[in-house]
Symmetry: C3
Subunit: 203 residues, 3 copies
């Protein structure tokens, strides 16, 4: 099949839902079917842009830049990804790996605000979710995150996941994209990846 | 009373909440009070536009058009409805019958994305809701929808209804419209219709 | 420290969550640390604008103006606040006291629609929440609001608070602002105020 222009899709999920595992399987399964997916990490694109302008040397310096500068970098990164997708050859889908909401000490930050989502013009936003207890368990195993008490932490994860879903929907309304929610419950990563590939081929 | 320009309102609700029943009663009750409501089906307007351009012959062909073409048709349909409302005579309210969210195999699609809601510039969005169990029952009676297991289905209806409400609110934020939620519980269609007419007369 | 340009932040919360108490403490605590906060009431700014144009004499006449006129007043008020913040001297933060959602007999009205939030361009939206039962209790003590039955009222407060939070997030997505949720549970106003001051100093 000749492909002249790739569709842009987005995949989001809060830390610990298993997004990376799913994404690797999506790439693998799609490849087996001759369906070409290019995964683009939005944070990498932003960093590339910021470093190219001499604004930062390390990735974690980005969030210390003035907010208007961060917004400018986000907008340019989004537009460049869109441009690459429109000018790609032999790629079916550009899958943008990012967040619909980022939780920091200064609050919940939208990852797909107006100036980003309108630059990307995605077809579909995939939202990866899991049970709050599973997310908590994965975070315990995967890192040295300081835990302040189990129940509070799980309640906070639930709130974060609900808000991240709502943020994804709000962003989708801005561009008429669809929101596809997948439940990555323990042991389901393979099924979830196959489901995503199936949807991608339908778009 | 002389009326020179109709207000635009929108009514949404997921399949099975009883929106059509309510809407027919709204028209009837309003008529009894000399308050003229014109009901416009958004999907009909889109189809009319698509057929006029020779893009489709049947309604279900619309969703197979490229996404950008569908968006263009939506935008034009919205602007035409707005124009008709502004140039209507002796109509108090143009009530646009549509969805805030559509559930398909490729995800949840916003029915009132930025380019539609800004074309319609509505005053108020009425959201018709019902108990998930009632919606499930109505769907069982009214059609041949394949059911995959009661509990799962009811949970999915609850999720869909919650997201449809959030999508309506997101759309309302884009234009400063109000969201009015009505609970169409079993046997309440008449009360709900009277409530909507009362609100319409207050706008 | 010399300050040439103030950041704009917003604080919202449904009636009865204790926003005013928190806001007074925020101003007091910040002042003690030499951090200057200017509190601006959005409704006052709108009224000032409406009265200056000879449209109203009393504040409650605003909501009887045509919707397009109200939107125009909102937009101008937002832009003036932004302008004042950008041209202020020796103020660290302009804190705009308003609502993300207003509940009236014609539905839920977004307090930070597109044309307002894009005028204000806030850095962070603080959402003050409380337990629905506490809100109910405060409303009982503080005013003569007619109560239609405890349980129904508390359920309605819970719905309103959930929707107000979602509306704040929807507005934040439009400008890439963060949403910071604080839980003003009984007796916690001081802690909440200190938390807000801490966040303001981090922005």
């Amino acid at each position: 099949m000749e492909v002249s222009k790739a569709k842009v899709c987005i995949i989001v999920g809060i830390p610990g839902v298993g997004k990376t595992t799913v994404l690797n399987l999506v790439e693998e399964y799609a490849g087996e079917e001759g369906f070409k997916i290019k995964i683009v990490n939005f944070g990498d694109k932003m960093f590339e842009e910021a470093r190219g302008r001499g604004l930062v040397q390390h990735r974690d310096q980005i969030r210390r830049l003035p907010l208007t500068v961060q917004h400018e970098l986000q907008e340019v990164a989004a537009k460049k990804i869109r441009w690459e997708a429109e000018n790609s050859r032999d790629v079916h889908v550009f899958m943008v790996d990012t967040h619909s909401l980022v939780h920091t000490s200064t609050g919940y930050w939208p990852g797909l605000p107006d100036h980003v989502i309108k630059g990307l013009k995605p077809h579909t936003i995939f939202v990866v979710e899991a049970r709050p207890e599973e997310v908590y368990g994965r975070r315990l195993r995967d890192s040295k995150i300081r835990i302040r008490g189990d129940e509070r932490e799980i309640g906070e994860i639930r709130e974060f996941m609900e808000l991240a879903r709502i943020a994804a929907l709000s962003s989708a309304v801005l561009v008429g994209a669809s929101v596809y929610i997948v439940k990555n419950f323990e042991g389901r990563a393979g099924d979830v990846a196959r489901e995503i590939v199936k949807v991608l081929k339908m778009l």
